[in-house]
Amino acid sequence: MALVEKIRYLLLCFSVNAVLLASETASGGAEGESEKVNIFSGYLSESIWTLVWFAVLVFMLGKFVWKPMLAGLKAREDHISGEINSAEEMKKEAGQKLEQYQGKLENAEKEGRKAAQKHINEAEKKGQEILTKAMSEADQIKARAREDARKAAESAKGSFVDEAGTIVCSLGSTIIGRVITPEDNKQLIDQAVDEFKKSYISGNS
């Protein structure tokens, strides 16, 4: 831009010089005319003409162009501001709805958590109950099994003693050569115990 300005300045200087030379020649060279060239030359009628046309323009354009244009611009501005306002309203409404939905969502989450917790608690409770029940049943089964085992052992013991007594009696019968009754058997055992006692006492003394 600075270069252009410099060129422009040089050319302007040149042109002014040229004008001066030209005017000098024109004033000196014309046949009897000594008309001086003046860059400010003109006529008052030009000013009046310009003002008249400008007044016509102001009136006509003002009425037929600028008035409808301003009306259009205002209508557009109103339309845009209306659109902006409605958009803001919608934004506000959307924000409120969002808040509502977020609230509902939070409530739903809370409810969900509550329900889940409730169900978990119930499940845990039921589980605990089932476990307790199962454990008590198991204890009962174990107790019953022990009882059965004890009874079986006792009956086995009883039958074993009977069996042993029978065997002893049959062996004693075979050895002695006579039938030994349980009373005889008892007497023989007592007798044997007494002898053992005696021999044990004499042995110690």
């Binding site: 252009v4 030379l21 037929f64």
Partner: protein
């Protein structure tokens, strides 16, 4: 050198030429240009922007874009609430000056010569005439004072015409303010005139080199350079119209809001 320049007078292109006079009322080529520019505006603008439209297309859209820029970026910051009251005058001023500047860029006399074969001076750059720019500056001067009086009342306007200063120097400051308002008008007129005048003169001088040197190289360089300078002049045409309208807006703003 002197002779060559004299035969190709650059002022030929710029100065106003008397066409005829009608009862003391002189009619010049620049008056033709003023009338053509105004007529173009009176035909083109109502056709393109004459209806209320929410969305404009084509040339009307370009015009409206310029108008909206002026209204929102130039006038509104200075005139605030009174923008729509005065903006139409600012728009008219801008487009009128711009159309005259752009018409001045078109070598209409040469085009007429090509078609008719007759030398003529019925066209030219109207804004390269101090009487045309002076008239517009005079309108601006009257308009901003009128706006100030209209908005503040005559008494208030004169009372607040100059800033609050001690009594003894008040007359001097008042006189300076009056002088400065006249200088504003003068500067408006001269700025537009000088820029356009110098631009056209420069183009005439550059093209004059062809007749001075009379060879193909000079012609090539001259025409290339003239084309480049024409681009710059095209920018200047828009810029000067904008500056004139912008300064008028500032002056109206200063007259309306005297407290600032």
């Amino acid at each position: 050198m002197k002779f060559a320049l004299a035969t190709m007078n650059p002022l030929e292109e710029v100065l106003s030429k008397k066409l005829f006079s009608f009862g003391g009322f002189v009619f010049t080529n620049h008056m033709v240009m003023v009338a053509i520019a105004a007529s173009i505006l009176l035909i083109v603008l109502p056709l393109t922007c004459g209806k209320i439209r929410m969305i404009r297309t084509g040339f009307g859209n370009a015009i409206e874009t310029i108008c909206v820029f002026f209204r929102n970026e130039v006038v509104k910051p200075f005139l605030k609430d009174q923008t729509d009251k005065y903006v139409s005058v600012i728009w008219t001023l801008f487009f009128f000056i711009l159309s005259m500047n752009l018409l001045g860029m078109i070598p209409l006399d040469k085009i007429i010569y090509l078609f008719t074969g007759q030398k003529n001076h019925i066209v030219g750059a109207a804004t390269g005439n101090i009487f045309v720019t002076g008239a517009l500056a005079l309108f601006s001067f009257i308009f901003f004072h009128a706006a100030g009086i209209l908005e503040n009342g005559v008494g208030n306007y004169i009372r607040n015409f100059c800033p609050k200063v001690p009594g003894p120097i008040y007359p001097l400051i008042f006189l300076l303010e009056v002088l400065s308002s006249f200088i504003r008008m003068f500067s408006l007129a001269v700025r537009l005139f000088a820029n356009l005048f110098a631009g056209h003169m420069m183009l005439a001088v550059i093209l004059g080199f062809i007749f001075f040197f009379k060879n193909i190289l000079a012609a090539t360089v001259s025409i290339s350079f003239a084309a480049l300078i024409s681009m710059l002049e095209l920018f200047v045409a828009f810029l000067q119209a904008y500056i004139f309208a912008f300064l008028t807006t500032i002056y109206i703003g200063m007259a309306i809001h005297q407290d600032h």
